[in-house]
């Protein structure tokens, strides 16, 4: 339960990050699409962080909504970003968030307890 709460806190953090980013856009908004991508990101992250083998499935799906959401955030900004920068940036966020979910999933497994420096 505690491990799930940990993932939930991170998911809330990512959601806040994304919502804040969306609010700074200058272009038109598509609330339905953006909210769906946001929910998919959070759900995918929480489920992808669960220390179980099946969590690889949500992690496999997680990059897509993350990429779309951050591509939306990184375009239509001031100062404007070139599209390739927005594209690479969105790809980076997708990779980063997915690999963090993977880390949390593996970190929380009893056989892969985090090492403490002595």
């Amino acid at each position: 339960m505690r491990k799930l709460l940990y993932a939930l806190i991170f998911a809330i953090g990512f959601a806040a990050f994304s919502v804040g980013g969306l609010s700074e856009r200058t272009g038109e908004r598509d609330p339905w699409l953006e909210d769906t991508a946001l929910v998919a990101l959070c759900l995918g992250f929480v489920l992808g962080s669960v220390p179980r083998a099946w969590s690889i499935i949500p992690r496999a799906i997680l990059p897509l909504p993350t990429f779309l959401l951050f591509l939306t955030i990184l375009t239509d900004r001031k100062p404007e970003l070139p599209f390739f920068v927005a594209f690479v940036g969105a790809a980076f966020y997708a990779l980063f968030i997915t690999s963090y979910a993977s880390f949390l999933s593996h970190r929380n497994r009893p056989d892969e307890a985090p090492e403490v420096r002595s």
């Binding site: 940990y6 806190i9 953090g13 990512f14 806040a16 990050f17 994304s18 919502v19 804040g20 980013g21 969306l22 609010s23 700074e24 955030i73 990184l74 900004r77 001031k78 100062p79 970003l81 070139p82 920068v85 940036g89 980076f92 966020y93 980063f96 963090y100 880390f103 949390l104 970190r107 985090p114 090492e115 403490v116 420096r117 002595s118």
Partner: protein
């Protein structure tokens, strides 16, 4: 009196150090990002995307290379002021401190999301420690002087002498006493005046108006403080998790800062105010209000940027980052209250200050420092009382649910049992070699009881040590020489027949604490002290009573010195005297 004057003189030097470091970072920001002189990276300037992405990354390459080079030349961990005072009687390396300050300036200068206060206190405390050590000051005076250096540094950084002084009391020295009041305050004042003389009067977080606080607001500050504590704990856990994550990657340590810099730069594409320590952002939050989604997002972004910056190896601390986070959090609370209960009409300024103090207290672990920082920055008593409520709630919650500040949490992760700057290192310096008795009597195993009776009359020695070829092999209770159950005639019974094989021993380099543990474990009243387990040469012996006496005398001496009254509790003579 001499210590007070010395503290004042060194405070000037520490203040000068802070000015140099601060101006160096400003120069780097101006050079690398094109920020106007005197501006801050987190002011929210419109920066080119390539500057935002490339400068932290290339700066990370420089930091990583410099850190790698320093680590090769000086492989040991840099001892900070808290660790020095807790474990090493205030001894710090000036070279290590300068190296750390350079790395922090480079980190902050290239836009990493780290605070510079760690470098300020390190250079101030390291400088004072070095001078104090050269002057051969007593352990407690050296510890106080380390606190003076940190006090002067923080006072100079925030133009707030009381904040600097209480930073030293709460974090660096570990206690406040009449004895250390004058030197620490003198140093803090000297540091403040140095910075004022060189940079002009510059209240760190000056506000433009008085706050409006109602009774409902004071009640609200309690849950705000509790939520701030939760945020603080999340930040500390987040930094740890990120560090663990980075350590798991097969990336050489010198490559981590450029990668981390790139990540921070990409975060800054969305939230440019995460770059740098956050001073400009704090000031902006105190004077303007922002929308709730943006504030929430910036909180998450700043936590991520700080955690990544520290996790990948940029040097710096979380002091100003925690203040910035606190102002964002306070601002977000106001926006949330405005949406949920608009009739409350909360004053954004006071909630921002409460958030700043509460998150700062939760992470830094110095509640009075945070309260005084608000008082000295705003000069507003109503705001300060409000901040006090939030700070107390946050501090109690963190102590209850987490038990660490960011500094002590990191000590805990390194396996150091330091809960604060209280001097626990003296126990290690009180070695068995200093307190043992050197008049231990040895007898060869072949020596007869009759000969021993002649050489050692009853009650003459507390213990005899049997040796074979010069090596300690056992102990003999002298009372056994006169036992009616000797089991033979005294001329025929030898020391070897009577001795109890050696079960435990002490080394001259052991400390008193470990010796007391051995007495307890083996249920012995006397233990031999040897030169090493290979040679087993007897150097002396120690009784449990002597060990306990030395321990209580040393404890008393430290308490007396802490209070500033020599031999307050007794006239006992310590091993040092």
């Amino acid at each position: 009196m001499a210590l007070i004057l010395l503290a004042g003189a060194l405070g000037l030097g520490a203040g000068l150090g802070v000015v140099i470091l601060r101006q160096s970072v400003t120069a780097l920001h101006s050079l690398l990002f094109g920020i106007p002189w005197g501006g801050h990276l987190s002011d929210g300037f419109s920066l080119d995307w390539w500057t935002v992405v490339l400068v932290p990354s290339l700066g990370g390459l420089v930091v990583g290379g410099a850190a790698w080079y320093i680590k090769r030349r000086r492989p040991r961990e840099t001892i900070d002021a808290i660790e020095a005072n807790a474990l090493y009687g205030g001894r710090m390396s000036l070279t290590d401190s300068v190296n750390l300050a350079i790395l922090t300036v480079l980190s902050g200068g290239c836009g990493a999301s780290v605070g510079l206060e760690a470098a300020y206190t390190q250079i101030g405390a390291g400088f004072c420690s070095n001078i104090g050590h050269r002057l051969r000051l007593r352990r407690d005076d050296l510890r106080t002087l380390v606190g003076c250096g940190a006090a002067a540094a923080i006072a100079a950084a925030f133009d707030a002498p009381l904040t600097g002084a209480f930073y030293a009391y709460e974090l660096i020295i570990g206690n406040y006493s009449i004895a250390n009041l004058a030197p620490v305050l003198m140093a803090a004042l000297a540091g403040t005046f140095t910075a004022r003389e060189l940079l002009g009067e510059d209240l760190a977080f000056a506000t433009s108006r008085a706050v409006h606080v109602t009774t409902t607001d004071y009640l609200m500050f309690v849950p705000v403080g509790l939520a701030a504590a939760a945020l603080g704990m999340a930040v500390m856990q987040g930094v740890t998790a990120t560090e663990q994550w980075m350590r798991r990657q097969a990336i050489p340590p010198w490559v981590r800062p450029p990668i981390g810099g790139l990540v921070v730069g990409i975060i800054a594409l969305i939230y440019p105010r995460v770059l740098g320590s956050g001073h400009g952002g704090i000031v902006a939050n105190l004077h303007f209000t922002f929308a709730l989604p943006y504030l929430s997002g910036l909180v998450a972004a700043k936590i991520a940027a700080s955690a990544i910056s520290i996790g990948v190896g940029f040097r710096g601390g979380l002091f100003s980052s925690s203040l910035f986070l606190g102002t964002l959090f306070g601002g977000a609370v106001v926006m949330a209250l405005n949406s949920v209960a608009p009739s409350m009409d909360p004053d954004p300024l006071v909630y921002t200050l409460v958030g700043m103090g509460a998150v700062g207290a939760a992470i830094v672990g110095a509640p009075i420092t945070m309260i005084l920082l608000v008082l000295e920055s705003t000069r507003d008593f109503a705001a300060t009382v409000g901040v006090t409520v939030g700070v107390i709630a946050a501090n109690v919650a963190v102590r209850r649910w987490f038990g660490y500040s960011f500094a002590t949490w990191r000590f805990h992760l390194r396996g150091l049992k330091i809960q604060g700057a209280e001097d626990i290192g003296w126990i290690d310096s009180l070695t068995i070699g200093r307190i043992m008795r050197r008049d231990g009597k040895t007898v060869p195993t072949e020596m007869s009881v009759a000969a021993m009776r002649k050489a050692f009359p009853l009650g003459g020695v507390p213990q005899l040590f049997a040796t074979e070829g010069g090596r300690l092999v056992g102990t003999i209770d002298p009372a056994d020489l006169w036992s009616p159950d000797l089991g033979g005639i005294p001329e025929e019974v030898s020391a070897g027949d009577l001795m109890v094989p050696i079960a435990a021993w002490l080394l001259a380099t052991d400390n008193l604490q470990s010796s007391l543990k051995k007495f307890s474990e083996h249920k012995l009243e006397i233990l031999p002290v040897i030169d090493g387990p290979d040679n087993l040469q007897l150097l002396g012996y120690l009784t449990e009573a002597e060990a306990l006496k030395s321990y209580s005398q040393e404890l008393e001496r430290h308490r007396s010195d802490m209070i500033g009254e020599a031999r307050l509790f007794s006239t006992a003579i310590t091993p040092e005297s």
